[in-house]
């Protein structure tokens, strides 16, 4: 087994490769078609038309009106906008928000900033599988609850939550429901009308568009203040000259992702083969449940070893992955997601997330399965915790 014989990118939950078709769609807007959509002249109007067209196509896919689609610069911006904007717009009704312990940091830290302002947040605990039950949500609702923010699919363990049911619980009490769908959109079918959510966030770079473009879906009549005030862009609700190239790219990426939803079963089958193969190594376990899970997500725990050193070795073998180990985070805390589903800290440090995509081949899977036992054994051999 030689190093770097193959390059396998198995970190698609972190970011994805920009699809060549998406790149091609963007090139004109990055070169000759540089007009500002707010301008009155021809190249400005062409840019405006391109943005309008992208908005329509995205709205068509998500099942909403074009005016309900707002372009942002990231999933994080969409999360912050929805949460802070809805909280501030509804403050007369109350100051209580319900979310979960295992949201992305964009959601958690936005909520923390609201807590510093005097809002109160109840964080629901997921179960071992990474699920949040509608009954728990129901029980947490108070008279002064103004917002529920629960993610659609978790970024570390890939659990897919019952968003439709959760939104129904919130709506029965007339509470705005927001879902961070950054990991869901493009990986599983997402139709906002069917789901009945009021606001939904997603991000381009998780679906083979570039980093730096996101969307907030915001249903007509949903009360939400602006995060970025400015000119009349995005119907006066998000200032800033539009990122025309990435908006065009995002629409193409979403179309491609939706076309590729038919690959889901094949992706899940590859993922399952990966899980089965790795599980043959002793002292390994799967983090999160397998039933309601994103097709490309696998999160494995390896006892006695630490995730960052595992990543480094995999990287030397040309395999890109990620870990919930503390050592990989600036905070030096292990993954709050793994802790929230009950994985003890010592085991969370030995976690490995492999997230595959439509372009992951069977040979890639073979290669990962060939490399992992070797590097795990190497690290265990030098671990004071491993008794052989």
């Amino acid at each position: 087994m030689d190093n770097n014989k193959r390059y396998v990118y198995a970190d698609n939950a972190a970011t994805t490769k920009t699809d060549p078709e998406v790149f091609e769609a963007m090139v004109p807007w990055l070169t000759e078609a540089y007009g500002n959509p707010s301008s009155q002249h021809t190249i400005g109007r062409e840019a405006a038309a391109a943005v309008a067209d992208a908005r329509e196509r995205i709205a068509g896919i998500l099942g909403c009106k074009p005016r309900e689609i707002y372009f942002t610069a990231s999933g994080s911006e969409s999360d912050n906008w929805a949460i802070k904007g809805a909280a501030h717009a509804n403050v007369k009704k109350g100051k209580h928000i319900i979310s979960t312990e295992f949201e992305h940091h964009a959601v958690l830290h936005a909520l923390e900033s609201l807590e510093r302002e005097g809002f109160e947040v109840t964080y629901l605990s997921p179960d071992r599988d990474g699920q949040i039950s509608p009954a728990d949500l129901e029980a947490a609702i108070r008279e002064d609850t103004i917002l529920v923010a629960i993610m659609f699919a978790n970024n570390e363990i890939g659990s897919v939550l019952p968003v439709k049911e959760l939104a129904e619980v919130a709506h029965a009490r007339k509470i705005t429901f927001f879902t961070d769908a950054v990991q869901a959109v493009g990986n599983i079918p997402v139709n906002v009308a069917e789901l009945g959510v009021d606001m939904l966030a997603f991000s381009g770079h998780k679906i083979h568009a570039p980093k730096g473009i996101g969307v907030l879906y915001c249903k007509t009549a949903t009360r939400c203040f602006n995060l970025i005030d400015g000119g009349g862009q995005e119907n006066g609700r998000r200032g800033g000259t539009e990122n025309v190239p990435y908006i065009v790219g995002l629409a193409r990426a979403l179309e491609l992702a939706v076309e590729r939803l038919s690959d889901s079963a094949a992706i899940a089958a590859k993922r399952d083969r990966l899980a089965a193969g790795i599980s043959k190594i002793p002292y390994t376990f799967i983090n999160g449940g397998m039933e309601h899970r994103l097709p490309g997500n696998l999160n494995m725990g390896f006892e006695f070893i630490e995730g960052e050193s595992l990543l480094l070795w995999l990287d030397m073998y040309g395999i890109a992955a990620s870990t919930g180990s503390a050592c990989s985070s600036a905070s030096l805390e292990p993954s709050h997601v793994l802790l929230s589903i009950g994985v003890p800290a010592e085991k969370a440090h030995g976690s490995l997330r492999l997230t595959i995509s439509h372009d992951t081949t069977d040979e890639d899977i073979d290669y990962i399965l060939e490399v992992i036992p070797v590097v795990v054994e190497k690290l265990r051999a030098m671990s004071p915790l491993y008794k052989g």
């Binding site: 006695f304 070893i305 630490e306 995730g307 960052e308 050193s309 480094l312 070795w313 030397m316 180990s325 503390a326 050592c327 990989s328 600036a330 030096l332 292990p334 003890p344 800290a345 010592e346 440090h349 051999a381 030098m382 671990s383 004071p384 915790l385």
Partner: protein
Amino acid sequence: MLYSEKVMDHFTNPRNVGEIENADGVGEVGNARCGDIMKVFLKIENGIITDAKFKTFGCGAAIATSSMATEMIKGKTVEEALGLTNKAVVEALDGLPPVKLHCSVLAEEAVKTALADYYDRNGIEHNIDVNCDGCCESCARH
């Protein structure tokens, strides 16, 4: 975060991995909850460290600092080894990313704990003071 070539060398080809049977001093610091455990084994003859080995559970920097620290004290007197600082280990490795400095502290403390153990076994008075429990809250130095 980028590791130096030296760090990567000591990570991929760690020196002195293993245990020493009937070691004259053994020290273990850190804990699994916080993600790093280093165990150092010393063979000491006539006040000179003739062999040093380690086992480490931890990140790339933890493994590399363990490797480098054991390498640096081999052949040294116990007193010289007590003078080993985390800074010296970091320098020998051509630096560590800021968030990884705590690993070098761990390595220094592992060596000191093993030396304290050696003194204790031999009934020698000492004031070696080890504070690191492997969790960053206990330490202001990282």
